[in-house]
Amino acid sequence: MKISAFHLMPHRELPADFERRYPSVWVTPPWWELADARRVGQYYNWTLDELLYAARAGFDGVCTNEHHQNAYGFMPSPNLMGSVLAKMTNDLDVAIVQMGMTLPTTTPPVRVAEEYGMLDCISGGRLVAGLPLGSPMDVNLAYGITPMEHRDRYREAFDLVLKAWQAKEIFPWNGKYFQLPMVNLWPRPIQEPHPPVWVPGSGSISTFDFAVEKNVCYCFLSYAGAKAARSMMDGYWEVVERKGLEKNPYRAGFLQLVAVSETDARAEAEYARHVEYFYHKCLHVPAQWFAPPGNQDYRSLLAAQRNPVRRAEDPKTLRYRDFVDKGYVIAGSPATVRDRLIEEVVKGLRVGNLMILVQIGSMPHELTLKNIDLFAREVLPSLREIWDDDGWENHWWPERLRTARQPVGATR
């Protein structure tokens, strides 16, 4: 198993009535009413400190991601964060997991190949290259990309980035969306033929079909837990099998919200309000913005309209105990968290690359460190060897980091 710490870098102090006062946490929240640049500077520094703390505590990787115009998670440039993390972890066997720089909005997309090349060079070959499609709020609303062209643009950018990393000769790229006369990437990444590629998705079938087609790691970034993800991930493994590929658990990633304390009761006392803050405020987005017309192709759209299988329940009607019962969040004592993670997530979904959201919503800095610390000491060691006996190779992890990390004591 490889277990990484994931961070969204959310606004941690939204007003109590935020979701009643404002129409959305994404695209339209008014900066001047809700934020203060100096305080936000503190959030960025806490975020970096928390991820570095996780790296030192024994996590295998640290994850950042790109989003725009929101209070849910605002690292518009994940690579700015990633470069700090790469430099500061040069003495550790930790992967820099960029989940990552959004392809359809980066123009020209060779910029992604260049910056990831830099990160791989700075980190000594420890980069995991997430190549995300980006959310409709980021790509279509904030960055103005036409919904119907979103996926097409992504596919072209993906092929361009992979070719730019590997080509031995200078080449012209005469694409539909991008034209570059002489592609000759400086720098190239250390990892050959290229850094491991992860494709994050939020449950769209066409994204995991794409991941299988490209033989990369598909990462389901879900906030609804393993129970809700089960049928989706079963479908993923069916596609893998149908394509004649081995069911290597490392070709699947999954994001899970986790909150650990000494006992289940203490976990509730400490984390309940932060979990509710996350689901009630950080996910407060008008439903139709997740799929502007044209973003889904006609067949998927018709299938969704005919058979709304996974019609998401409104998380605003749920409270902490519901989130825990349903598995949206795995919270409690180390034993509770360990058992549920192994059974529901790791074995239930067949996941080799696990990402843990270690900081949830309004969770303050000290409590986040506690969550990281308890997880690293009491939970992580029991997960690490899960797939070892089956002899799977994690092809989607930097080669020099594939052996197990030596246990490192947390140093607070």
Partner: protein
């Protein structure tokens, strides 16, 4: 979507004529065989091309009224013809779209036409008149989009909640016209198909105007030679009335008429009033 034409009918490869409505369908494929158009036609007389808005082609009482004096041709925008949702993928931008329509008129052997358009379709009509000024004799634009003012932004209907859409498009959100365009059938499967077709129609037309419906018409509009009639619903909540002045100022010979008791689709909410404005304009 009762009354909407693009609702589940098979893609027609041959011409068909309904005895009840007198509307015939013609299929014409352009763009190196990649873009099939289905065109609804009715009536006798000089040719009038009707370009509909972004919610799928909707044959209405207004078009019936025009068909009493003219040959009305109403093409479905690429992607909105049943059975051909991916046709729009071969049309990469507004320039491609306008040339596809130009080719369609060539194939229909309509050299001398009058253009009527609504909303997105009115923008297309205006682009057509700017592309080939000599082909167009009259230009009637009903609540067109295509220009932009920062102080009066056009509302992006693609970002509205589906249940809020009727109140933005119509003056009376629960009126008969709103129901005719937006209400879904009771049958569950038919309702799913209707919702899908509505969303897809917005996506297929939205492709040419996202994220701001200003794609340079203001640089081309001076080329229009035809006399123009601008018809505006008094309570248009999507495209503010200031745009009537913007269009009128840029078109060489334009007249503005305001329709009371109507929102963004006056030809659907007040078909007689709008027909009584458009018909004499096209005749005169």
């Amino acid at each position: 979507m009762a009354g909407a034409i693009a609702d589940g009918a098979p893609a027609g490869g041959r011409d068909a004529l309904s005895a009840v409505t007198g509307i015939a369908q013609r299929s014409v494929t352009v763009w190196q065989g990649r873009v099939p158009f289905r065109v609804h036609t009715k009536g006798q007389g000089p040719a009038v091309i009707f370009f509909d808005g972004p919610w799928g082609l909707h044959w209405s009482a207004f078009l019936d009224a025009l068909a009493t004096r003219f040959s009305v041709f109403a093409p479905e925008h690429p992607g909105t013809t049943p059975g051909e949702p991916d046709a729009v993928r071969h049309v990469d931008g507004l320039w491609d779209l306008v040339l596809c329509y130009d080719e369609l008129l060539d194939r229909l052997q309509l050299q001398d036409v009058m253009l009527v358009g609504h909303s997105f379709g009115a923008m297309v009509a205006c682009e057509m008149a700017a592309l080939r000024p000599s082909r167009v004799r009259r230009l009637a634009l009903i609540d067109p989009i295509g220009l932009w003012r920062d102080d009066a932004p056009v509302t992006n209907w693609m970002l509205l909640a589906p249940q809020d859409l009727p109140a933005y498009v119509f003056r009376e959100a629960n009126g008969a016209a709103a129901k005719a365009l937006f209400s879904t059938p009771e049958n569950v499967d038919e309702a799913a198909l209707a919702r899908t077709n509505l969303i897809w129609a917005m996506g297929s037309t939205g492709k040419f105007i996202w994220p701001i419906p200003d794609k340079g018409l203001r640089k081309r509009i001076h080329r229009v030679e035809a006399p123009a009639l601008l018809v505006w619903g008094e309570d248009d909540r999507l495209v503010p009335f200031v745009y009537a002045e913007e269009f009128a100022r840029r078109l060489p010979r334009a007249r503005v008429e305001v329709v009371k008791g109507a929102g963004h689709a006056p030809h659907l909410e007040q078909p007689e009033s709008v027909a009584s404005l458009v018909q004499p304009f096209l005749t005169g």
